[in-house]
């Protein structure tokens, strides 16, 4: 027997032993139908997952509707909740408040308490809290709207490339201050005469104070491990309050402490150990009362990861009388309204 004969015999036997072709054909159709149904099922599940994911994302990013309004009052405190909704801290919500504000943009009252300067929808805006009129002041220069607005809402300051630019929104005049380092402006004193800056980049970051009249630049504090808050200048511009974080990188939850430093370059002083925070997205906020007698702080102050809300505490600038003002979901920013000055006064 040679190879070809052996091969023919093998083929012949294999063909005879092959299964029933009609059964195979029926099985093929069944398999085809089953796989088609499986593919359709997978497709439906995938579409369902994609849709539910989109809905969840929309739900997560869509700000919640603001609560129903109430009458305008004097001396209210505002904060933002985790969905960037403007909230009143412990008082009825005035109907003229804007619904939302950007946590990284301006968020402050004018000295007469009539307007709120805030950023939303890529614009820096001024909201008249009596009439409810909303006036756009300028387009945000970047996504985070990292500008600081003077208390009257007529000047804005931005810092890039070692230069602080202060622009008058009415006259369009611009004044430049050489600050020597990349920095971002973070706070404008209520008297309008100075701004606080935070340096950007480098191994250590510094808080700086710039007198806008004399141009004097004072180095106030070196960031230890991280300054999470936007520091706040006191109404008279003589002190800067900020929250310092210790242990960032060594612990997952840094220790936070409220620190105050005089803007003339004097030594800083720890006012209060304020707790711990994961601070993954929502950072503590600091503000001064309009009369400069109290500092308000919002922070989670809890080791519970799941808690994203923040209570508001207040303390005197000498470190005494730390007390809880209100628990809730206040985060990111605080603004304390000066007493409303009547236009007829």
């Amino acid at each position: 027997m040679n190879l070809d004969t052996r091969a023919r015999d093998a083929i012949e036997e294999t063909l005879q032993a092959s299964g029933d072709v009609e059964t195979g054909l029926a099985a093929l159709r069944r398999t085809r139908r089953r796989r088609t149904a499986t593919r359709l099922g997978v497709l439906v599940v995938a579409i369902g997952l994609a849709l539910s994911g989109a809905l969840l994302r929309d739900h997560r990013t869509r700000p919640e509707p603001a609560p129903p309004p109430g009458p305008m009052r004097s001396g209210i405190m505002l904060s933002l909740n985790v969905d960037q909704v403007v909230e009143t801290v412990g008082s009825v919500r005035p109907g003229t408040l804007p619904a939302h504000a950007l946590p990284t943009g301006p968020f402050q009252f004018t000295p007469d308490g009539h307007h709120l300067i805030y950023a939303w929808d890529r614009l820096v805006r001024s909201r008249d809290l009596i009439s409810g009129d909303d006036q756009p002041l300028m387009p945000c220069p970047d996504r985070g709207c990292l500008v600081v607005v003077d208390p009257t809402g007529t000047k804005i300051a931005t810092a890039h490339g070692g230069v602080l630019r202060v622009r008058d929104l009415e006259s369009h005049g611009e004044r430049h201050y050489d600050i020597g380092r990349d920095a971002s402006a973070v706070s404008w004193a209520l008297d309008g005469r100075s701004v606080a800056l935070r340096t950007v980049g480098g191994k250590h970051q510094w808080l700086l104070h710039l007198d806008l009249e004399s141009g004097k630049l004072t180095r106030l504090a070196q960031e230890a491990d991280g300054i999470y808050t936007l520091p706040a200048l006191s109404p008279d511009g003589t002190q800067l309050a900020y929250i310092e974080a210790l242990g960032r990188g060594r612990q997952r939850m840094p220790l936070l402490r409220l620190v105050i430093v005089p803007t003339d370059g004097g030594p800083s002083r720890i006012l209060h150990q304020v707790g711990q925070c994961y601070c993954m997205r929502y950072f503590p906020a600091v503000t001064w009362s309009p009369d400069g007698q109290r500092i308000a702080v919002t922070l989670s102050g809890t080791p519970r990861r799941s808690q994203v809300g923040g209570a508001v505490y207040t303390i005197r600038p000498d470190g005494s009388d730390w007390k809880l003002l209100l628990g809730g979901y206040f985060q990111d920013r605080l603004a304390w309204q000066p007493p409303l000055v009547s236009s007829q006064d």
Binding site: M1, N2, L3, D4, T5, R6, A7, D9, A10, I11, E13, T14, L15, A17, S18, G19, V21, E22, G24, L25, A27, L28, T31, R32, R35
Partner: protein, 176 residues
């Protein structure tokens, strides 16, 4: 020109294309034989069936080809020798295991013959299986394997020598 990928003549297309059922009935037995020479006996029917499933899924396109038979044979040899694709076939076969009948046992001589083919280097085994299962001419084998006729002759020649040694047979016949 590659006739596997070529379009059928207009008269075939105009006649409403080919009938898959007839194609299946004509092709499956030898496709199983082809698979026998390339993968384990327990998988041969599944590999052949899988090749037919691929063909069925693409039948509207495949039916327009000049040589759909060569196309399905190429799918079959690719399925049989690709590790990943064979694993997929094995997985699917496992899911059908309870309902599937065992492959019909073949005589010892036939099993030895297919085992000898499977032990050949991959391309030699493919060329030999196509030659033995279909008695394909060199040109068709070259087309299915996607190589030149000279290369096919070389593979077949070496395959015959190796099979002759393994099965202790006279080579006989013409390698080409």
């Amino acid at each position: 020109m590659d006739r596997i990928g070529a379009q059928a003549s207009p008269d075939v297309v105009e006649a409403g294309g080919r009938d898959f059922d007839a194609f299946y009935r004509a092709e499956l037995p030898r496709l199983v034989a082809l698979a026998r020479g390339l993968c384990a006996p327990s998988l041969a029917e599944d590999v052949a069936q899988e090749a037919m499933l691929v063909t069925y899924r693409k039948w509207r396109t495949v039916a327009q080809l000049e040589r759909p038979d060569l196309w399905v044979r190429r799918v079959c040899i690719n399925l049989a020798v690709s590790t990943f694709r064979r694993r997929m076939v094995e997985l699917r076969a496992l899911t059908r295991l309870s309902a599937r009948r065992d492959p019909t046992p073949l005589s010892q001589d036939t099993e030895e013959f297919w085992a000898a083919v499977r032990e050949l280097p991959r391309r030699q085994a493919q060329a030999a299986a196509l030659r033995f299962a279909y008695e394909l001419p060199i040109a068709d084998i070259a087309e299915v394997l996607g190589c030149s006729e000279g290369t096919v002759k070389q593979h077949l020649s070496r395959a015959r020598q190796a099979l002759g040694r393994t099965l202790q047979l006279a080579e006989g016949g013409d390698a080409t």
